[in-house]
Symmetry: C2
Subunit: 269 residues, 2 copies
């Protein structure tokens, strides 16, 4: 498995509901990655229909010592082509995407100058984090919706094109909390070349360009490796349960790292 050609900056998908009041491990680590006291963070609240979705994060990043934190209000496709907003992202040292609805993000940003700039900044080494919808939208093929439950069924997952910051995985979130094992395995069965990542709440997967994934936070990351998988997805429809054999699952918790190239756990504390 290869990461995106040209991927250089770390990506940090977060499973949603990350700690905002306690030690704030995840948001603190992101602030450090973005440069600590020199960090200029651009917050993209487009996933949310609520106007002040970004303001709360602005306050937190400033409390955590960032030099600046700007909310980039991208409400429509004109905003997403605006000189001022594009240049705020160009000058940032870290980009954070809030939660909400990943279809809003992809359908508003897709094909705009901001979408191009996000990819360029990532290729230039800048860290990009996203929580919940902001995590799922990072990949080329993303989860668009689906149903809860452990049983894989064709109708348990809908997919659509994301922002393409990484093209080797599909990222699901609120994972344990919303019981999304079935839909993640179903998505991987459509193309077992993609790794499935299921990230719990208050948990993050820090993915670096050397092909490692480090877990931060209170829960764990479930990795679905379909290398040896066989399924009848191509012959099934609707809610009919799928037969899928040889699904390899890894649970990776804080302190452990996962080798994305060789698909194995590297170390535990």
């Amino acid at each position: 498995m290869e990461l995106n050609d040209g991927m250089r900056g770390p990506l940090m998908p977060i499973g949603g509901a990350e700690d905002k009041f306690g030690n704030r491990t995840i948001l603190r680590r992101f602030t450090e990655l973005a440069g600590g006291s020199a960090a200029r963070i651009a917050i993209i609240p487009t996933a949310s229909a609520v106007d002040d979705a970004g303001q709360r994060y602005k306050g937190i990043f400033l409390e955590l010592g960032a030099e600046s934190a700007d909310v980039i209000f991208v409400g429509d496709r004109d905003d997403a082509n605006s000189d001022v907003l594009v240049s705020l992202i160009e000058q940032s040292t870290g980009i954070f995407m809030t939660g909400g609805n990943q279809l809003r993000v992809a359908s508003i940003l897709g094909g705009t100058r901001i979408s191009d700039m996000l990819r360029r900044r990532s290729q230039q080494g800048i860290p990009i984090a996203g929580t919940s919808a902001g995590a799922s939208v990072m990949s080329s093929v993303m989860v668009a919706g689906g149903k809860s439950g452990t049983t894989p069924r064709p109708n348990s997952a809908a997919m659509s094109p994301g922002l393409g910051l990484i093209d080797t995985m599909i990222i699901d979130q609120h994972f344990r909390e919303r019981d999304r094992v079935g839909r993640l395995v179903t998505m991987v069965s459509y193309n077992p070349g993609l790794l499935g990542l299921g990230i719990d709440e208050d948990t993050a997967a820090l993915i670096t360009a050397d092909g490692t994934l480090e877990v931060l936070g209170r829960g764990s990351v479930l990795v679905v490796d379909g290398t040896h998988m066989r399924s009848d997805i191509y012959a099934s429809q609707g809610k009919h349960p799928l037969t899928i054999e040889n699904v390899v699952i890894h649970f990776v918790a804080e302190g452990a790292r996962f080798d994305l190239t060789h698909r194995k756990v590297l170390s535990t504390r």
Copy 2:
């Protein structure tokens, strides 16, 4: 828009039902691209559940003057990791994927050595053609299924991960014949950065690494450019008709070429 990093060989998605008895313009052109009398063509019939799907093409490519044509029977994921079959593809000068079910292809080949070899051969400059399901499966995000009709609706299209030979477009086929305008526009609305290609039967889009698309055959290729599109896809569900404004459509017929980078028709005969 950038083509895949590293894309070098031409891709030729075909809309299905290409002429097999007359002048065979499309299959003849592919044979020439693969080296004419020196062509060694590997035929991948995995989209089809029928055993002899590849045999008919073998006969045609030999009649059209290819040096050799081998049917690569990949029926399951073990076959897709077989040394013998992988090396047949490695030694081929052109690869042809038959029609059938694109979910079969992606779920069987995804993450296997044959899938890796297809990408590598494309990067090495070898032409890859595919008809119907073999056309749709080329892209990173592909059409998995959907409904006919001109009206875009959320439930008119299902998407899933394809083989990733090209990541800047979604390819639909049997386009005019099966009335698929609505589903193609719907798919583009999910991420207007992707170009939508709707290819009629007995029609092919020859895409080269310089970013041009040339049309061959009896019908035309409908291109959906979502650059200036706005939609309410993120707020809609099920069969509710979508509101989508500023969809730019191009119809490109034989003899004309389309500039994929600047999204405009380059020339007509």
